[in-house]
Symmetry: C2
């Protein structure tokens, strides 16, 4: 059936709902270049103000999901579970989490993205491993998942092409911040992975897209609802992103911390979040009786080195050098270090994730625009986190850099991240809520 | 100065205001093809939901006004006043009004549009006069205004190019119905005529864009406010468009009725509205002491034939045959007539302007799309208006048509226009309000 796009825009603009058939028509016609960008951007802006009903959202996501190929992973005998994070600063959880969960008998067909703005991307971090390839053809992807239970790949170009187009248009037309659009973008990509379950990590705070628990809860609930309408169980955690996660920010820095978590030597927050999200994946997969059983299995995979073994095999299968797991000096590094010190004594009241993330972009660890190159060896080690006591001249961060320009661009923003108080400060809770 | 369009869209989307400099930048860059349509359509949709402040609207209108040429009519000694109607069914007021007002010593540099949808356009009606040209170059326009005090022309391509582009984009992107966008579109075109004053006829009812007095008042107030910020006095009238204006709908039909008004032989509502709007133009021009003096001058211009004389000279100057004023059979006509009769006796409770307007489009008197041709000779004469008493088989309308297809397309819609009641009905008031 054919529709008038100005009329459909008008229906949404005036607060009406569109049918599944109308929404499918929009996605199909846009993907086929039969609807101009200026109609879609006006429609998306109307969605920002009017929202979408649950039925609309299910139909819209389904139409995006079927705008291209959908993986068929039915040859994989294991339950297939993935994790998605809405993105933050120092969020390297996917890297230690995936091998540990795979070591417990869950298949993870993980497709990740690159960093943009102050949030890092898993692909950039994985590519610090010499030789590691994130581009796999569909047969190689399926074969590796069957053999190793884990693939760490980039988004396939043939999956969910509608999302790629709509995402680029949203970025250029000021139509990014709308829960239905964010939720359908994430869920269409994840549902195209042919999953049996999904764990979401919705970041909340200055370094995250969602600034407060209420909006994060709304986003998580929306994604859980989309999962339900596709018969895919989804559990969402709301977690803190007001300060950076863990100690390391930057691509090689975060790979070092990820390997430490796999060895049982990671910082407390990175380790704890890996375990919380990983345990939920085991429960969703049905390979653990409950969360405490799941935690015990994951702890065992750390202690036995089973997680490290899976990661070594995945690195080898994807063309990388697994020796980095034993010898982190094989990772890219930077020529110089600079120490940022406390200007006075006190307690850390704030270590602003957004400031640290932005300073890392200025340092060269991230991108302002999609086309930008990154410097994989530069990074920031955070020594003082919320609740820590510092005395004057104590180091609060160490910057690894290659050029003075990098350092000079980074420092003013980085130094603004800390707020010290004269009174003792409580550490911030890591897990802020849960939606299922 | 340079701006990021996604950021400016985001500011408006989130309820902020843009500076005059930012709005001028948007208009200038869009007119110069430096901003893509998809950013402007998203911005316009955000304006639909967030509106514009008075300052924003003044700056936006001013930027549109200066996106191309602006007329310089300083050589015209007389005060320059124009009238604009937001459009309706049977609204031919410009045609008798302009010669009568010009006959009283006011210069009218009138630029009109074509009909689209169920609303008619003055240009289409003028072009029923054999030979009449509505395309004048700027020198001919100025010379005729100086000599005759009246030009009846089409919009110049060089005036307000930004409005032409934005109007087309709004039409295609579902971003038409927003008072700031409607008001700035009208006012930028009218202010480009270098006026000393403007009378607005804001139509209210089923056949108009504005369906109720509240929204019509808001639109009129917005245009009056834009006029104020450009030191141009604007007076707005809210007038009924729930039933067609006058008796005639269709291009030649409306020219016949217009000539009748100039002779003092028009139907009461068309005549009254011509006098009300014309009187206000004389008052704004300062050529009448007040409304009753102005009415007396207009009545005299009818009785003396001075209005008809001005029209004859304008027709001659623009290449047309002024003999139509004496012999309406020189106008285009249609081959056949069909009479629509009352199905029962009663009082007319409703004669729906929208139904009559849509039936006229189906008959060939108007356009569904800009590219469509019109049939200048077809039209509808309305015999029964609200409050009239009819007995069964009384004619309620006469249709002039050329082909059976025209008639068959028209009739079902036309016949649905009348609602009869068993109890006597009051005629609807013509003038619903006034804003200045």
């Amino acid at each position: 059936m054919s529709h008038s796009m100005p009329e459909l825009i008008g229906t949404k603009r005036d607060g009406g709902s569109l049918s599944a058939e109308q929404l499918e028509w929009i996605i199909a016609q846009y993907t086929a270049d039969q609807i101009p960008d200026y109609q879609i951007s006006a429609f998306l802006m109307a969605v920002i103000f009017r929202g979408m009903t649950d039925d609309e959202l299910a139909a819209w996501t389904d139409a995006m999901l079927h705008s291209g190929d959908v993986l068929d992973l039915s040859s994989t005998a294991l339950p297939k579970i993935d994790k998605h994070s809405t993105g933050g600063v120092g969020d390297k959880i996917s890297i230690p989490l995936a091998p540990l969960v795979a070591a417990c008998g869950v298949a993870i067909p993980m497709m990740s993205g690159r960093g943009l703005g102050h949030t890092g991307g898993t692909l950039d971090k994985l590519e610090t491993i010499p030789g590691f390839k994130t581009r796999l053809d569909p047969e190689a992807f399926t074969r590796q998942l069957d053999e190793l239970g884990l693939v760490l790949a980039g988004q396939s170009e043939t999956l969910v092409p509608a999302d790629r187009r709509i995402y680029a248009l949203r970025d250029a037309s000021g139509t990014v911040p709308a829960i239905p659009l964010i939720a359908s973008s994430i869920m269409s990509k994840k549902l195209a992975e042919d999953l049996d379950g999904l764990v979401l990590d919705v970041k909340i705070g200055s370094g995250a897209f969602m600034k407060d628990v209420a909006s994060g809860t709304a986003l998580a609930e929306t994604m859980v609802s989309i999962g339900r309408s596709h018969d895919t169980p989804v559990v969402g955690f709301l977690t803190d992103m007001d300060q950076p996660l863990g100690r390391e920010v930057g691509n090689a820095n975060e790979m070092v911390e990820s390997i430490a978590v796999l060895r049982g030597e990671g910082p407390p927050d990175t380790t704890e979040l890996t375990m919380v999200l990983g345990a939920e994946m085991l429960v969703l997969a049905g390979v653990a009786a409950g969360r405490s059983d799941a935690r015990a299995q994951l702890d065992a995979a750390v202690r036995s080195g089973a997680g490290l073994d899976v990661f070594a095999r995945v690195i080898t299968a994807q063309g990388g050098n697994p020796a980095v797991l034993e010898d982190p000096t094989l990772l890219p590094t930077a020529a110089h270090t600079h120490t940022v010190t406390a200007t006075r004594g006190g307690y850390v009241e704030r270590c602003d994730a957004l400031a640290v993330g932005r300073s890392a972009v200025r340092l060269g660890a991230g991108r302002q625009a999609k086309e930008d190159a990154i410097d994989p060896g530069v990074g920031i080690t955070v020594h003082a986190k919320v609740g820590d006591a510092v005395t004057e001249s104590d180091p609060v961060a160490t910057v690894r850099y290659n050029t003075e320009d990098q350092l000079n661009a980074c420092l003013p923003v980085l130094e603004s991240a800390w707020v010290l108080s004269e009174t003792p400060q409580q550490p911030v809770p890591l897990i802020l809520g849960e939606v299922s």
